[in-house]
């Protein structure tokens, strides 16, 4: 039984096929990064237009070259959270294809997809585990006890950490997406030249905040009449240190509290090597294992949607009503036993 996964919640048109016996057997991603780069961030209308144009050619050329269309028995798509217009493209394609093939379809929660992504890899993973989900849309620390059993310990009260990286990159005249650009520039920075606050570090909460940190960068730049390349590198380094330390402080606290023996870091910001080093150190302190899913399964991808849809296949139906929700909290999901 093959499950086709469809992910269009933001700026990536992604498709993947999950086989319960073999794992992911086909996978394709079309990234819109170049399309949005000139605007310094994702333009929702452009994202929707591009998903609409690219999804069928991507399916035809990059999925059907590997599998037989009639072997697809279930279609799973991201129904939320995400950009409303972009989500509707994935849903429309999923429902149209399901109607054409006479098979059921299921809407999947994007965040749950990220939480299940570690199970796609070669490593044997078992519940419970602690997950740090860090991306352009989310910063969350979640205690994962099972499928649908998610306890959100903390999340950002304002900007997501990836969003803060993007915004600071824009202030520093860097390209979108900002994470890799800032990390690259920070390598030339001189430590200690700037020191930015570590948000909520002294508060008794697992919540995070990155908006004030971004404003601190803005003020530092405003204090300079014409920042040099070195100035910008120093600022990038200081910002990266504060942002990753803010995450590390909360994760350490959560590992002590939950006593989990597996720490997972996922989302696009999981690619940041400074954050990775800090999390590895925390896992050692806690005598726990640490897992970073393959980068292609850390960022938005359809493999996690196909897999999660398969897990929740009992909820699939052949009804073609819209289930899209721009906001869809994890706490609304039901637990699956077994």
């Amino acid at each position: 039984m093959l499950t086709l996964g469809i992910e269009t919640s933001c700026d990536e048109t992604a498709l993947a096929v999950y086989d319960p016996n073999k794992g992911i057997v086909a996978e394709a991603v079309y990234s819109q990064i170049d399309l949005h780069a000139i605007y310094g961030g994702v333009v929702p209308e452009l994202a929707s237009r591009d998903h609409c144009q690219k999804i069928l050619p991507l399916f035809e050329s990059n999925i059907l070259n590997t599998i037989n269309i009639n072997d697809i028995k279930l279609i799973a798509y991201t129904a939320g959270p995400g950009l409303g217009g972009a989500l509707l493209i994935g849903e429309s394609f999923a429902q149209g294809l399901a109607a054409a093939l006479n098979i059921p379809v299921i809407g999947v929660n994007h965040l749950e997809g990220h939480l299940q992504a570690p199970f796609l890899g070669k490593n044997k993973v078992q519940f419970p585990l602690l997950t740090l989900l860090v991306s352009g849309g989310h910063s969350m620390i979640i205690d994962v006890e099972g499928i649908g059993k998610y306890n959100i310990l903390g999340e950002s009260r304002d900007d997501a950490v990836g969003e803060a990286f993007d915004k600071v990159a824009k202030l520093l005249d860097l390209r979108y997406p900002g994470g890799p650009e800032i990390e690259k520039l920070a390598k030339n920075g001189i430590k200690g030249t700037h020191k930015f606050p570590i948000p909520l570090s002294d508060k008794d909460t697992y919540d995070m905040s990155f908006s004030g940190l971004k404003t601190s960068v803005l003020y530092a730049l405003q204090d300079m009449s014409e920042p040099t390349d070195q100035d910008k590198a120093d600022i990038a380094l200081a910002f990266q240190d504060s942002a990753t330390e803010a995450l590390a402080i909360k994760v350490r606290k959560a590992m002590i509290k939950t006593k989990r023996k597996l720490l997972v870091c996922t989302g696009g910001v999981a690619a940041n090597t400074v954050l990775r080093s800090k999390l590895i150190a925390i896992s050692k302190e806690a005598e726990a294992n640490i897992l970073f899913p393959e980068l292609k399964h850390c960022t938005d991808n359809a493999a996690m949607i196909a897999y999660t849809g398969y897990l929740r296949r009992d909820l699939a139906s052949q009804s073609y009503k819209s289930l899209v929700r721009s906001r869809w909290p994890l706490k609304m999901l039901t637990e699956i036993h077994g």
């Binding site: 000139i38 605007y39 310094g40 333009v43 209308e45 452009l46 929707s48 237009r49 998903h51 609409c52 144009q53 999804i55 069928l56 050619p57 399916f59 035809e60 269309i69 217009g85 509707l88 493209i89 429309s92 394609f93 429902q95 149209g96 294809l97 109607a99 054409a100 093939l101 006479n102 824009k170 005249d173 052949q318 009804s319 073609y320 009503k321 819209s322 899209v324």
Partner: protein, 218 residues
């Protein structure tokens, strides 16, 4: 010849099945932001999913101008159906389809017809047509107008579409004319889809308004 036609370009969802000269059409009015329920639409014309797809010769849809979200939804929903069942997917201008639907209300078919549809934020989609043997031919291309420009089009002929309502006392308004998918089917039946390729991947919406997003460093 059997054609499935769909028009969701504005505050309605309309579906029609044309089999030779007979057309079965179902139309629902709703808020422009509401999404169509494909279950209700298929049930409205008694279409059995998916068995009836294989008996079709073509699928056609109104591809705009109109609500961007609605146009994308219908385009993206129909693409895989047409692809799987190897059917041509024919985009039809939503304004031309509206003109075709208005023709039955014109007492004098030699007059011109001007269509306007609300495009939100004080803008209107506009086009003008003349008719030859009941088929609309463009005399003023599809364009986006503000209200001041729309007023300059009040020069005689017939008018269809809600933006003209406030000028009803000065013009010949076809107030009962509404868009529907029957006219999408009728226009598609005039297309030589047996000898031309209508690749589902190319059946995308029309976006008339220019994008005004600000690029960085401009």
């Amino acid at each position: 010849m059997k054609i499935l036609g769909i028009d969701l370009a504005a505050n309605y969802s309309s579906i029609a099945l044309q089999e030779d000269d007979e057309i079965n059409c179902f139309t629902q009015m709703h808020n422009v932001r509401e999404r169509p329920s494909w279950d209700d639409l298929f049930a409205g014309i008694g279409l059995a999913v998916p068995n009836d797809f294989s008996s079709l010769d073509a699928i056609a849809f109104a591809n705009g101008p109109g609500s961007y979200t609605a146009l994308r939804n219908v385009s993206t929903f129909l693409k895989p159906i047409a692809f799987v069942h190897k059917l041509p997917l024919i985009p039809i201008s939503s304004l031309k389809a509206f003109a075709m639907a208005s023709y039955d209300f014109m007492e004098d078919p030699s007059k011109n017809l001007f269509i306007a549809v609300d495009a939100q934020k004080g803008s209107y989609y506009f086009a003008g047509y003349t008719f030859q043997d009941g088929i609309p031919t463009s005399i003023e291309g599809e364009q986006v107008l503000d209200q001041a420009s729309l007023i300059t089009k009040l020069n005689g002929g017939y008018y269809a579409g809600t933006p003209w309502k406030e000028f009803a006392s000065k013009i010949e308004l076809l107030s009962h004319a509404t868009p529907n998918a029957s006219s999408v089917c009728k226009l598609a039946s005039l297309v030589d889809f047996k000898n031309n390729v209508f690749d589902p991947a190319d059946a995308n919406p029309i976006y008339l308004e220019p994008l005004t997003f600000k690029k960085i460093n401009e």
